[in-house]
Amino acid sequence: MNGASVTALALHSHTLNINGRAARILRDRESDSATVFVHGGAPGITPYSSGAHIWGPALARFAEDGAVLALDLPGFGASDAPDGPYTIDTMADHVDAVLRAAGVRRCHLVAHDTGGLAALLLACRQPGYIDAVSIVSSVAAAPTGDGVENTALAYPPQPLGSRESQRWALERLSYSPHHVRDVLDDCVRAAQQAPHLAAAARMAEPGAAQAWTTSVARAKARLFELCRGPGVPVPVQVAWGTHDPTGTIDQGLWLYRILAQRQPIAHFHLINRAGALPFRDQPEVFHSIISAFSDAMR
C-alpha cells in the first residue's frame, strides 16, 4: 500500500486427485485460511479459456496480505472434465472437494461470472469454511427478466481457442485491451489442454450445451428462492464493472438487491472503467474493494 513495491510472490501449481480426477490449484503457501479465487466461463463454450490464470497480477497482490488459492474448475486449465452432464453443481461440488482436499478451513470466496453462481449456492449449503463471498461481474447469477439477447461474444473468429479468437473475445470483454497480451499465452495454452478439449467435445454433442444453459437458469432460480427464504448465510458483496458488455449495472444492482434481502452484511461496488474482467482492467481498485470487506470482518 501507499505505493510500496509489489514483491513478486511465487504461486505454485499443484494437482490434487479428486475421486480419480486431476484438479489443479495455484497457491502461494500452505494455509488453512485463504482468499480463494473461482473463475467463470461456460466449459468448452466461452470463446476465451478461463482458469486460475485469468486473475493475473491480482493474485500476487492479495498474496501480500495473506494466503491465496486459485483453482481450475473441471474442464478448464488442468482440471479434468467430468464424464456426466456439466451443471453449476459440478462447479460447486468441485470447489467444495478441492477446498477440503487442500485443507482450507476458513476462506473468503471471490468468484467470477458462472463461478459466482456456484459460489453462492455452495455458501448456501453452509459447508462451514466460508466466511464471506465476493461475487464479481456475475451476470450468470443476476436476473435477466425477458431481457434482450446478449450478443457481446456472438460471432467469434474461427477456429475457436486460437490466439486470434481469444484475443478478440478478451478485448471485447474489457474496457481497455492493454492487459490482454499479458494473459493471452495462458489462455491459448489452456485451450490446448486435454480438459478443455474434452469439455469442448462434450458440449458439441447434441443437447449438451442446452443442458448446461438449463442448469444455469435452474441454479439461478434456486438461488433466488434461497434468497427469499433463509438468505445467503455469510456476508456477501457484489462488484461490477461500469462497462461490462455482458451485463448492465442494473443487473448487478438487482443481484445485490436480491442478496441484501436477508443478508445484513452486503455491499455493492461499482468499479469505474472496467468491463467483464474488472480484476484485470483495474487490479488495484479490485484488490482494495475486496480487501476492505475482509478488513471489516476482522
Partner: protein
C-alpha cells in the same frame, strides 16, 4: 441463518471523542477534534445552522476518528460555521452555504494542513465537493456519503422528516428525526441524543434557530443561495472540474437520500473521474458511518491507501 454484524453500532465499544481544541479561523472561534498522525483526513458532517429538531456536530464522527487514527491517519473533525460549538456567521448575508464552505477552507489553512482526504456527509458532502471544486490544492481525495444535497435528483428529507409528532426541539422530536434517518432505530443511542441536545441548548445555537426560522433567513437567504450555487456546482461536475479521486458511499436503506440519488451522482462524476468508486452498505440509512462503522472505516482506509505516496 444470519450472522451478526461484527461491530453493530449499538453494541460496539464506543471510542470516546478526543479532547476538543480551538482555533481562530478568520475571526471565527472554531472547535475541532483530532486523533492520530499521518496524512490528514477531514470529516465534514451534514445539516446546517438553525435547524430546530436536529443538530449535527463533530461528535457525529465519534465512531470514525479513532479507527482512522489507528489505521495511520491524522483524523480531524471540526464544527462548521454556526454549528456545534463554532462561532456563528457575523452577518445575515453570511447565513449561506458559500460562507460555510469558505470557513471550512479557511479551517484547513488555519491548521496548515497538507492536501487532505475530505469525507463529507449529506449537506457536508455538498460542502466538501464545493470546497474541492474551489480549492483543488487543499484536497487529496474526496469521499461523499449519502448526499441528497449534492445529487442532481430530488431529496426526500422534507417529506420523510416533516413535522415530527412531538414538541419542536424536544428530546422526543430529535429522537424521532434520527430514528427516521436510520435503518435500525436501535443505533440512535442516548449518547447520540445527548450530543444533539447539548448543541440545541447552546445560546449561540438558539440564536441561529431564531435567525433561520424566526427571522426567515432559511427561506430568504440560505435556501435560495444554495439552489443558485448548486446549479453552478453541478455544471462544474459536468464539466469534469472535480479532478480528484472520488468515492461515493451510500447507505442502502436511506429514505431521505435514496439509492438512485447516489447512482445519479456516481454517473455524473465517473464520466470524468476514471478512479471513481461507488459503494453501497446494506441495512443502513442516512448515517452508514454510524450504523456500520467497521465497514465504513475499512472502505475509507483502503481508498486512501490506493493513492500513491506524495
Amino acid at each position: 441463518m444470519r450472522e451478526p454484524d461484527p461491530l453493530p453500532a449499538s453494541a460496539a465499544p464506543r471510542p470516546a471523542m478526543p479532547k476538543g481544541r480551538w482555533v481562530d479561523v478568520a475571526g471565527v472561534r472554531t472547535r475541532y477534534f483530532e486523533a492520530g498522525t499521518g496524512q490528514p483526513v477531514v470529516f465534514i458532517y451534514g445539516g446546517n445552522f438553525g435547524m430546530a429538531d436536529g443538530a449535527s456536530s463533530a461528535y457525529t464522527w465519534n465512531l470514525n476518528l479513532q479507527p482512522l487514527a489507528d489505521a495511520g491517519y491524522r483524523a480531524i473533525a471540526f464544527d462548521k460555521l454556526g454549528q456545534g460549538e463554532t462561532g456563528n456567521p457575523a452577518r445575515d448575508q453570511d447565513y449561506t452555504m458559500q460562507a460555510v464552505v469558505d470557513h471550512a477552507a479557511a479551517f484547513l489553512r488555519a491548521l496548515d494542513l497538507p492536501p487532505a482526504h475530505l469525507v463529507g456527509h449529506s449537506r457536508g458532502g455538498y460542502a466538501a465537493t464545493r470546497l474541492t471544486l474551489q480549492h483543488h490544492d487543499a484536497v487529496r481525495t474526496l469521499t461523499i456519503v449519502n448526499s441528497g444535497t449534492l445529487s442532481p435528483g430530488v431529496g426526500t428529507n422534507e417529506v420523510v422528516l416533516c413535522n415530527p409528532p412531538h414538541p419542536r426541539g424536544s428530546r422526543e422530536a430529535v429522537r424521532w428525526v434520527y430514528e427516521n434517518y436510520s435503518h435500525d432505530p436501535g443505533v440512535v443511542t442516548e449518547e447520540w441524543i445527548d450530543a444533539v441536545m447539548g448543541i440545541l441548548s447552546l445560546d449561540k445555537y438558539r440564536h441561529t434557530v431564531q435567525k433561520m426560522a424566526g427571522e426567515g433567513l432559511a427561506e430568504r437567504v440560505f435556501l435560495p443561495e444554495l439552489a443558485q450555487q448548486k446549479g453552478q456546482t453541478l455544471r462544474w461536475l459536468d464539466e469534469g472540474r472535480l479532478q480528484r479521486p472520488v468515492q461515493i458511499v451510500w447507505g442502502y436503506n436511506d429514505r431521505t437520500a435514496v439509492l438512485e440519488r447516489g447512482m445519479e451522482l456516481f454517473r455524473m462524476v465517473a464520466r470524468h473521474q476514471h478512479d471513481a468508486q461507488f459503494h453501497v452498505i446494506n441495512e443502513s440509512g442516512h448515517f452508514p458511518f454510524r450504523e456500520h462503522p467497521a465497514q465504513f472505516n475499512a472502505l475509507l482506509a483502503r481508498f486512501f491507501a490506493l493513492q500513491p505516496a506524495q
